[in-house]
């Protein structure tokens, strides 16, 4: 199951890319900027600004989960079956479903459309999420299909997976974008819901296997942006058989609206992106350890 395919992705690997977002993630990072990616099932998104108030959806809903309120539509999560009947009748695209089942061929057709751009730019397909490794068979089939068509592949992963899954796909992946958030395992458990031990082990193993990896650190103010954490990641990276380049990704605020559309609370309502001087300082710390650092713009 995927929740989106984005064309002209220019920050998820080399060249002009098409990014396929697979739905479902074993982590639950507090700052997740794709909240609709987290769960393993279809989810309803409601955009109040688009709603024209025709309330056709009320009649369409088989479980009467919907009601009209002063601030737009209310969906009772207890009753909602996530069947999509409301979005089917919604001509205004106020009700939408995140998550659709596509076949490998359907996804490949969509990727193939941008072939000319890949050829020109050295781009290709990126598989992101959610956590793409959580759908190992689908991911493996997609990667193999790409390789059959000579399309460059990138997998953007949290690294949280059984090794045998990574092992099965790794030879079909040109570059891994490997997220590392926190070195302190206790904090990692607190802010992502899982331990980082398996993640670090997998990173170690990929590096030992000679695979191309880039480490991506999301810089979340107050959580991952302290020198200790970033330096600890740097030390770990420098100790790998091949020290991977590191991307620093500043937290951004664009996800707030998505939480609203999912009718979910956004814990970071008041969070601001990190200051440029913090980003620069962290980058310098890593550079001084002999690591190649790339600063993503906010």
């Amino acid at each position: 199951m995927i929740f989106d395919i984005k064309h002209f992705s220019i920050h998820d690997g080399p060249g002009i890319r098409t990014t396929v977002f697979l739905k479902g993630c074993p982590l639950s990072c507090w700052w997740c900027h794709n909240p609709e990616s987290q769960r393993f099932f279809r989810e309803k998104l409601y955009t109040v600004g688009r709603c024209i108030g025709c309330m056709e959806c009320l009649a369409a809903c088989p479980t009467h989960a919907l009601s009209e309120t002063e601030i737009g539509l209310f969906t009772d999560p207890e009753k909602c079956l996530r069947c999509g009947a409301c979005s089917d009748v919604c001509l205004a695209e106020a009700c939408e479903m995140a998550g659709r089942e596509l076949t490998v061929n359907q996804v490949m057709d969509e990727i193939e459309k941008d072939r000319a751009f890949f050829d020109e730019s050295g781009g290709g397909a990126t598989f992101s999420g959610g956590e793409p490794l959580i759908q190992p068979d689908f991911l493996l089939a997609l990667l193999k299909a790409c390789k059959d068509c000579r399309i460059h592949t990138v997998v953007d992963t949290s690294g949280f997976s059984a090794w045998n899954v990574l092992d099965s796909i790794r030879h079909h992946v040109d570059i891994f974008l490997f997220d590392l958030k926190l070195m302190d395992d206790e904090k990692h458990r607190l802010f992502t819901g899982v331990s980082n031990r398996r993640i670090l082990r997998n990173l170690q193993a990929l590096s030992s296997g000679g695979h191309r990896v880039r480490i991506r650190i999301p810089i979340i103010p107050g959580i991952t942006d302290d020198d200790d954490n970033v330096v600890a990641i740097g030390v770990f990276a420098a100790g790998l058989p091949t020290a991977p380049p590191i991307d620093l990704l500043p937290y951004h605020h664009f996800a707030a609206a998505k939480y609203e559309r999912l009718a979910r609370a956004y814990p970071f309502q008041d969070m601001r992106p990190p200051m440029a001087d913090v980003m620069n300082r962290l980058a310098e710390r890593l550079c001084s350890m002999g690591l190649a650092v790339h600063l993503e713009r906010s």
Partner: protein
């Protein structure tokens, strides 16, 4: 380099001087035509009128100027052309007082119009003659907004100069004319006398321009004599020397080359208000030999060359497009006159044409940030990435220039039209996006064609629902079309009907120009008018093309797609219900409108369902026009560009089956309907590339990017790759608007703070605050491609 004090002052002056309507030219023309009643042929009379202007118009040399000469008596003073179209007093009133694109009219100018100009020309202008010759069906279609007519108040003169003036002085042009006169065969050629008169007219024009340059030399001499600052005195003396030398003789250096061109530019745009876009074309290639020679000999530095080019740029900006007649207060147009300087491209031997002057020109474009001249880069597969990246850095600043053209495709387009390979490689793009063989072709845009309006009339069996008037043919009641194809064929028949009307009109208007308004000055510059002794308007050019510009391809596609999808394929809507919803402008029918908008396969998403319809519409438009004979032994071709006409055409078109409400703008160029493209720029480019650009004379694709998307050098590389891919797929042109919606909205609310905000409109850039409200809204609505 930093901008010199001189350039900075001249630039400020150009930016801050308010456009003025100058009655000087109109008054001189009136004087001439009153006085000169001796019998003479029309070409000779036109030449003598030109000579009279060149002899008597005021000479303007501003302090600090290095390139001299103005079309009016001073910068931004804009001449009028009463012999073509005469402003009425109420026109003058509106021009003076309207909010957008005003031209101030002094009491003296008004008096000159009232006392002399209007009494002499009113009812006697070429425009009066044209309208009196147009049939009632032509007028009905014209008034309904099916098409516009360029030639009704601006002379056809859409052409660009090649390299000939850079190695040939006007004295040599005169020798060419004389030898052509000597070759005339009065025994066997029944047109020998006509040719003789045309050639004599050209000869008069040669002398007139030389005289004009000498008058500048004289003025500069006077100023030099009075000048006390030694540096300026020396400059003025140099100007005396230059103006005595060019255009009579070939230019000896970089400075003279620019001054020569500028005199020629003033000549062409003073003779007639040629619509439009006359410009030096491949300026970097023309100037490169002078640049190289100057640098090598030490007589020229890069900074000196840059300053001269900056002065040259300011000259263009000093010339607003001539104000129209018969204007309404709402109609504003633009100050820009569409000169489009081509940078890069290829050399005549097919090798890469990018040189040091190309980069110099890009620096000038960036430093000057002026509306005029417009600029483009010509990208061939041989152009270095560095060149496109340099241009992309200018585009990123949000100034809408330069636009980007596919040089390889332009060669293919010109070859298909029958040009030789050499002439094709020396050609390029001009105006908005039109291609031509520079220096050798008369290629005239004759009007925009409103395809969606034709569908509206088809859906009403020949009647324009806005007026209830029957202006089309009966192609059947749409309720009775059993299949989508019946409707499509009805549309094709209706379109052919209106194209016939348009072409019939053009055939008359072209001959009116050939007979009554020859352009001997322009003719002497364009091959092979001298050799054949025939005027530019009369088929004297080597190539002669008549274009009709299709508007609303994206809207048309979505309309047809909506009808096919909802009425014929899914049967979710009946034709009767659709027509009722359109008649009501969707009032109370939000769900129908949203279904049409959101549940239709739409153009711009790399979706073959929609894009195949686009291809059929393209094909129908192409078949309706391409290859028809024009009056100059040339042919009709199509291009797809709107300038701002998609706003006007939208205003006369009712609600449409794509969910568009009555009066809203149509899609522009070959861009998707505003907001219809949901899959990002690669999908838009793929969709647009599915039409056969080779068979057009230019297509216009607009993309709006937020500045965030072009922040880093890597981002710029992606932009370059995007362009390269589109060109690999044989796209003709692409331009980028880089301004975020927030900025544009702020500019709408506080125009005073955003006076210098320039945006790409359609084939040209304009000051955002000068645009009509409707166009401003439309630019904001164009999909802003954001980053993922």
């Amino acid at each position: 380099m930093t901008i010199s004090e001189r350039v900075s002052q001249l630039r400020e002056q150009s930016l801050n001087t308010k456009p003025v309507l100058s009655s000087e030219r109109a008054a001189l023309m009136t004087e001439f035509y009153r006085m000169d009643s001796a019998p003479m042929s029309i070409p000779v009379r036109r030449a003598k009128a030109f000579q009279y202007l060149m002899e008597h118009k005021g000479i303007c040399i501003m302090d600090g100027e290095l390139i001299v000469g103005e079309k009016g008596p001073f910068p931004k003073a804009t001449p009028t052309y009463p012999e073509l179209c005469c402003h009425s007093l109420s026109d003058l009133e509106i021009l003076d007082s309207r909010e957008k694109i005003p031209f101030s009219v002094s009491p003296e100018a008004r008096a000159a119009y009232q006392v002399n100009i209007i009494p002499f020309w009113q009812g006697n202008s070429l425009r009066d003659m044209i309208f009196s010759e147009m049939t009632s069906e032509w007028k009905a279609a014209y008034e309904a907004g099916i098409f516009t007519e360029f030639m009704e108040q601006r002379a056809p003169g859409h052409t660009v100069l090649d390299d000939k003036i850079y190695h040939k002085g006007f004295l040599e042009f005169r020798q060419d004319i004389q030898s052509a006169l000597g070759r005339l065969d009065y025994l066997n050629d029944p047109r020998a006398y006509d040719r003789q008169q045309e050639l004599k007219a050209m000869e008069i024009c040669v002398d007139a321009l030389i005289r004009f340059s000498h008058r500048h030399a004289q003025k500069a001499r006077e100023l030099a004599d009075r000048e006390t600052r030694p540096q300026r005195k020396a400059e003025l003396e140099r100007i005396v020397d230059i103006c005595m030398h060019v255009p009579a003789n070939p230019p000896r250096n970089f400075h003279e080359a620019l001054q020569y061109y500028w005199f020629v530019h003033l000549g062409v745009t003073t003779e007639l208000n040629t619509w439009d876009a006359f410009d030096p074309g491949r300026l970097d290639q023309h100037l490169y030999p002078f640049y190289r020679k100057g640098i090598d000999s030490g007589a020229l530095t890069r900074d000196m060359a840059e300053e001269l080019l900056q002065c040259f740029w300011i000259k263009f900006n000093n010339q607003p497009a001539p104000p129209k007649v018969g204007v309404t207060a709402a109609e504003s147009g633009t100050y820009t006159d569409f000169a489009q300087i081509n940078v890069g491209g290829m050399k005549p031997d097919g090798s890469d044409g990018v040189n040091d002057v190309s980069y110099l020109l890009l620096d000038v474009i960036e430093d000057m940030r002026l509306l005029q001249p417009s600029s483009s880069i010509q990208v061939s597969k041989k152009s270095p990435d560095r060149f496109i990246q340099r241009a992309a850095r200018i585009i990123r600043t949000g100034f809408g220039q330069p636009s980007i053209f596919n040089a390889d495709l332009i060669v293919q387009q010109l070859l298909r039209q029958g040009k030789t390979l050499d002439d094709a490689r020396r050609g390029g793009s001009s105006g908005c996006v039109e291609v031509g063989a520079f220096g050798k072709e008369s290629y005239n845009l004759t009007g925009y064609f409103n395809m969606p309006k034709v569908l509206e009339i088809t859906l009403h069996n020949g009647i324009d629902p806005r007026t209830g008037q029957k202006i089309g043919i009966e192609t059947g009641h749409p309720e009775q079309f059993a299949e989508f194809d019946n409707l499509f064929q009805a549309f094709v028949r209706q379109m052919n009907h209106f194209v016939d009307i348009k072409v019939r009109g053009n055939n008359v208007i072209e001959r009116i120009y050939a007979r009554y308004m020859p352009a001997p000055f322009l003719s002497l510059l364009i091959d092979d008018c001298i050799a054949t002794g025939m005027d530019y308007h009369d088929g004297g050019a080597r190539y002669n093309t008549t274009y009709i510009q299709g508007v609303g391809l994206g809207s048309m596609t979505d309309m047809m797609s909506a009808i096919r999808h909802h009425i014929y394929d899914r049967k979710t809507l009946s034709m009767t219900a659709l027509l009722a919803a359109l008649a009501d402008n969707f009032s109370g029918q939000d769900r129908t409108r949203l279904m049409l908008l959101n549940k239709t396969p739409r153009y711009g998403n790399d979706d073959d369902d929609a894009d195949n319809i686009m291809k059929s519409i393209f094909e129908a438009y192409f078949q309706a026009i391409d290859g028809r004979k024009n009056t100059k032994n040339g042919a009709y071709h199509i291009n797809l560009l709107p300038t701002t006409c998609h706003v006007y055409f939208g205003s006369v078109t009712g609600a449409t089956p794509d969910g568009r409400r009555a009066g809203e703008p149509l899609s522009e160029g070959i861009s998707p309907v505003q907001g219809a493209d949901r899959k990002g720029p690669t999908a838009v480019l793929k969709s647009a590339a599915k039409m056969d650009h080779v068979r057009t004379g230019g297509t216009l694709l607009n993309q709006k990017f937020t500045p965030q998307l072009l922040k880093t050098d890597t981002d710029l590389n992606r932009l370059v790759q995007l362009v390269r891919t589109y060109f690999k797929l044989d796209g003709h042109h692409i331009q980028f608007n880089v301004a975020d919606a927030a900025t544009l909205c702020a500019a709408q609310q506080h125009p005073e703070k955003y006076r210098d905000l320039i945006v790409r409109v359609a084939g040209y850039s304009d000051y955002f605050c000068d645009l009509s409200q409707a166009l401003q809204e439309e630019i904001i609505a164009r999909t802003e491609h954001s980053d993922f």
